[in-house]
């Protein structure tokens, strides 16, 4: 018997202007599990993630922990579900540690200064993403990869049960992509739920479950090692990727 989903999206339609970017999606996200969303450009991956976070106006409903996400009080939802957007910009004048401290906003009473627990959570998150060394530097002076690690730390500092990340690996070099994988594995082992939109197919194939999208619809949702899942991946990428097993891990290679 399958577990009750921590997130359940029943999305009839999402439109950007006259264009329908998402339709007829019924997606259950299992708790304590890493789900990766993949698909070609324009498949609706980021829109789906925004819907699941309750950040996207839509026809349909998303429930978090069994309750409609819109019914959750903002701060309580903020403590339960953390969001990392695609290439978040701005905040150039804030120090890295100030940005990570923003992750503690849902935990802090209005106008109250950060507590020792907040400072400890910020330190943990920045150490985990190896960004503690430049905590005093303004965001505007960081490289793309450094900046991404600070933003990831900001999302981790929320210490939420559910973490949604849109292209979290952008700007990260392979060693830091490996660090990110390690963080995700630790979160899942601790009972947290992670959902990430990924362009890096090889990393996505390491997830527990894969959501394969095409033209605003979910084509397949299942375990990553499921042959049906691999068929779906090949289909949405027009048979231009080949999947191989290497040291027990599935990898995707482009077909020339």
């Amino acid at each position: 018997m399958s577990r009750a989903p921590i997130l359940h999206g029943r999305i009839q339609r999402v439109r950007h202007g006259r264009q329908t970017v998402l339709s007829d999606v019924d997606l259950r996200i299992e708790p304590a599990c890493w789900t990766a969303i993949v698909g070609p450009n324009g498949a609706g991956k980021s829109t789906l993630l925004r819907c699941l976070a309750g950040l996207q106006p839509m026809a349909g409903e998303v429930s978090l922990g069994g309750s409609p996400i819109g019914a959750w009080p903002g701060r309580e939802r903020g403590r339960t579900l953390a969001w990392l957007g695609q290439a978040e910009q701005g905040a150039d004048d804030l120090r890295a540690s100030d940005v990570v401290m923003l992750g503690r906003l849902p935990h802090q009473p209005w106008l109250a200064p950060p507590s020792p627990a907040d400072h400890a959570a910020v330190e943990r998150a920045m150490l985990a993403t190896q960004s503690w060394a430049w905590r005093e530097r303004p965001m505007g002076q960081l490289s793309g990869g450094e900046r991404q690690r600070v933003l990831l730390a900001r999302a981790l500092a929320v210490e939420a049960d559910v973490l949604l990340m849109d292209e979290p690996l952008s700007h990260l070099d392979p060693p830091h992509q490996a660090d990110w994988l390690q963080i995700v594995r630790e979160l899942v082992a601790a009972g947290r739920t992670v959902v990430s939109v990924l362009h890096e197919l090889n990393v996505a194939l390491m997830a527990d479950r894969l959501v394969v999208m095409q033209q605003g619809r979910v084509l397949h949702h299942g375990p990553c090692d499921d042959p049906l899942c691999h068929d779906a991946v090949r289909e949405v990428f027009e048979q231009r990727v080949r999947l191989h097993q290497l040291d027990g891990q599935w990898v995707a290679l482009p077909v020339l």
Partner: protein
């Protein structure tokens, strides 16, 4: 606030104290320092009844404009945003133009305008212009639409002010004084108006400063952190409008202080919006106070419009910053 922020704050307070003493001693009648105040009752009277309210008023107007500038740059996530972005300057100018024009029409209409006063007309004009901008932008949800509506309102109301001056040429000189900005008419009642407005606006702005920090990462990130973005933006836009309207009503259209003061602070320290607002108030107040002293001293016994000085000094500073940082202003 971090250690550098505290340091900058203390430096600004010390400089403000020095500038305050200077502002009490310098005037169109020449230099009359603390020694003269004890010996000469007239010197004391001039220092207390003319220079003190004027200097405090200049500081308060500068602080209000700087607070508005810091808010505008935060709300619109644009380092070039200034307090007059939502059309408040054009609205205030039109309010003053209407007031001055109608004063000369007849006793019945003049009575209304006399009671309202030039300051009241400027404040009303400023507030109504911002209200018009908000209506045209259909609220505060879309900052780009808000910016465009502000530009449209500014251009249209500016044209109406020019038309009023064309039709009633007698008001041109008075309008020039208003549009160049002056601290010469600030007395204790104006100080009594601006001080509580600054306190209330600063407290409200500080209340929304964490929301502004979160909004600097984008609306989606802020919403995900439990911030009610639309509500926060409404409060902050209303606060910046009230602060701008109050400063403009008392001191006219003083340019560049609201734009430059937050830049000046950010060029020295990296701080959150809460600290930026406080430090910008201190920097803006100091800038306008120093400009006011210079305006009295440079061509004494005559005076320069203080707005001309802030424009020249502020513009030069921004040009210097622009050339210094190859990546442009931050």
């Amino acid at each position: 606030m971090n250690r550098r922020g505290w340091g900058l704050g203390l430096v600004l307070i010390a400089l403000t104290a020095l500038a305050g003493v200077l502002a009490l001693a310098v005037g169109s009648t020449g230099w009359s320092g603390p020694q003269a105040w004890g010996a000469d009752p007239l010197a004391w009277q001039i220092a207390w009844e003319v220079r003190a309210p004027r200097s405090m008023g200049a500081w308060l107007a500068g602080a209000l404009l700087a607070l508005s500038g810091a808010l505008a740059q935060g709300v619109f996530r644009n380092p070039l945003a200034d307090p007059y972005l939502l059309g408040s300057s054009s609205g205030a100018a039109l309010g003053v133009a209407a007031c001055l024009a109608w004063l000369g029409v007849g006793p019945a209409s003049a009575d209304v305008w006399v009671r309202l006063g030039v300051s009241g007309a400027a404040f009303m004009g400023s507030v109504m212009a911002v209200a018009l901008t908000l209506v045209l932008a259909r609220g505060v949800q879309h900052t780009l639409r808000l910016l465009l509506a502000g530009v449209v309102v500014g251009v249209v109301l500016g044209a109406l002010s020019a038309l009023t001056m064309l039709m009633v040429p007698d008001i041109t000189r008075a309008m020039q004084a208003f549009m160049l900005g002056t601290t010469g008419f600030i007395g204790w009642p104006a100080v009594g108006t601006m001080a509580p407005v600054l306190v209330v606006c600063l407290l409200l702005a500080l209340g929304g400063s964490r929301a502004l920090d979160a909004m600097s990462l984008g609306d989606a990130a802020a919403s995900s952190l439990g911030v009610s973005v639309t509500w926060a933006r409404w409060v902050l836009v209303l606060v910046l409008s009230a602060a701008t309207g109050t400063a403009v009503a008392q001191a006219g259209l003083i340019s560049f202080v609201g734009l430059v003061a937050p830049h000046l602070v950010r060029s020295v320290v990296s701080v959150t919006h809460g600290a930026l607002m406080v430090l910008s108030c201190l920097a803006g107040g100091l800038l306008l106070l120093l400009a006011d002293v210079l305006a009295r001293w440079l061509i004494a016994p005559q005076e320069l419009p203080v707005g001309v000085l802030t424009a020249v000094l502020g513009g030069s500073y921004l040009l210097w910053r622009m050339n210094r940082s190859s990546g442009g202003l931050t």
